[in-house]
Symmetry: C2
Subunit: 307 residues, 2 copies
């Protein structure tokens, strides 16, 4: 299986605290890095955790609040200092380019690489990036400004060839690719060896959902049904339901309900309000989630999760 990991680089909410940085993650799929959100401090966290910006080509921004965006100018500046040449692609709700480009042009004049903005709709989900091995889909969220979460879906790997059977039937190498892709094999005498006898199914394709920032929406679970790993904001504890709703955020219980109803394998919570900036209070948040969805863990800077 290709490596498919999520690095938590920032899991605080609107303002940094002594414990937490602003929203920033890296998805590492087979040694290609994808950034999700880019709060101030992203480039410092990349350096601290020895993640190479040279392997980062695509940045996915959930919404245009500063705590998810303001790390972009510094990151692009450092990429320019590194004399990067490959383009960087930035996916976000509309409006980012018009405010960001003049700012970047002032602080990163004449960069050695192209910066390409890709605005996406926040009213309906879509596949916004796809390559041979992975695709990224948007998931509309309910926040105070247009906002989407993201699902990183591994494409279904091809089945494994059963080498013994290939040898047994004397199948030549040139035919392997088409067999992996689903073809049967026809022997010189016309006998058909079915594809299923020559292969075993690959592992199930994996998926990771990033859901932040959002108010609770019972329909969200269906949009992310069956993801393996889910990051969901839990800005507030259960007793702050009214604040969560008013601010377009979720409580612990709501985050856990979404993970439960989506049949996720594991839930990571984060985007903690600064009021919970203590071990004991974060343990309380975790406990509230586990009451609804036992396989929940707390995000923390520097943690890495296998999808």
């Amino acid at each position: 299986m290709n490596p498919f990991k999520v690095h938590i680089l920032g899991c605080g909410s609107a303002r940094p605290t002594p414990r937490h940085c602003l929203s920033a993650q890296i998805v590492n799929y087979n040694n290609c890095l994808y950034a999700i959100d880019c709060g101030e401090g992203m480039q410092a966290q990349l350096a601290r955790h020895h993640l190479m910006t040279g392997k980062l080509d695509r940045i996915f921004i959930s919404h245009l609040h500063g705590d998810h965006v303001l790390g972009l100018p510094g990151l692009l500046s450092t990429m320019a200092l590194s004399e990067r040449t490959s383009p960087i692609h930035i996916y976000s709700p509309g409006g980012l380019e018009s405010v960001m480009r003049p700012f970047i042009e002032f602080f990163v004049p004449a960069p050695s690489f192209d910066i390409i903005f890709h605005p996406f709709s926040t009213t309906q989900g879509a596949t916004i990036f796809s390559n041979n091995t992975i695709e990224v889909q948007t998931v509309p969220l309910q926040h105070r400004v247009p906002c989407c979460g993201f699902i990183f879906r591994e494409k279904q790997p091809l089945p494994h060839i059963l080498r013994d059977m290939i040898d047994f039937y004397g199948i030549p190498n040139y035919a392997i690719k088409s067999i992996k892709e689903g073809a049967d094999w026809v022997m010189p005498d016309g006998q058909v060896v079915p594809h299923a006898r020559l292969t075993k199914p690959a592992e199930k394709a994996r998926s990771y959902a990033y859901l932040s920032d959002t108010a609770y929406d019972p329909a969200l679970a269906q949009a992310v049904e069956g993801v393996d790993l889910m990051y969901h904001e839990a800005t507030y504890a259960n007793d702050m339901l009214a604040s969560a709703s008013e601010r377009g955020h979720s409580t612990t219980g709501q985050a856990a309900a979404t993970a439960r109803d989506a049949h996720a394998r594991q839930l990571i919570i984060g985007h903690y309000s600064s009021r919970y900036d203590k071990d004991a209070l974060e343990a309380m948040l975790l406990s509230e989630c586990r009451a609804v969805f036992p396989n929940t863990v707390l995000a923390n800077e520097g943690l890495t999760f296998d999808v």
Copy 2:
């Protein structure tokens, strides 16, 4: 004496490293905070070191390179979340407001406080801020873009009243203020008691010079003659004289020569190139400085110096 301290919050150069943040300092004079430079991460460093942004009213930006400026939007955003009401004053070379204001207005819409930009000349030194106790002067530096250092000068404190002498001459309380300010005292019989007999001189006024980023300029020492504490960039070791000159930076030996020629009490070096991001290499930088100016120390995040 009023407290007069310098907090080092960032002493790396163009890009953050696992050891160092981008340029950012706080001068604390009598519990009023003044920021010098505002690299990305400033607000996180303020939180980490428990420095209250509510006590920070003035920010002094040496020049408009991103590593000295890009912490501003996030800092102002957090000030808005804190429902600050007092204005924030930003002093910098010209051009900052036109690029920064539209960006801030997007990410910090309708802040509860005024943001006031004060552009200053970078071709000749001037006093750009003054209150009852302190003043801030610019010192033109030699960099790739217009750039100034800053001298924070305590105003000469008034002399101390000699309480015994006041009592001896039966001087009423209402006269104390004018005596502190230099008046003699005239007795009812016409006898003049000279000011000097009623007071003892206050401590010498203290001063702090921040000199970054700059190429070596022998004339600089005269501009900062006699400062108590000096922060001077030492981006490069002595063996990189050509790079320093070409990039508008200083070597260790050049920083130390400026401190020596200015008769500073103590030199703090910083703005280290990321190539020196190891204990042993920073120790080498320190050693090169001490060969010229023994009372040199290495800047590091979290260190506080008394001026």
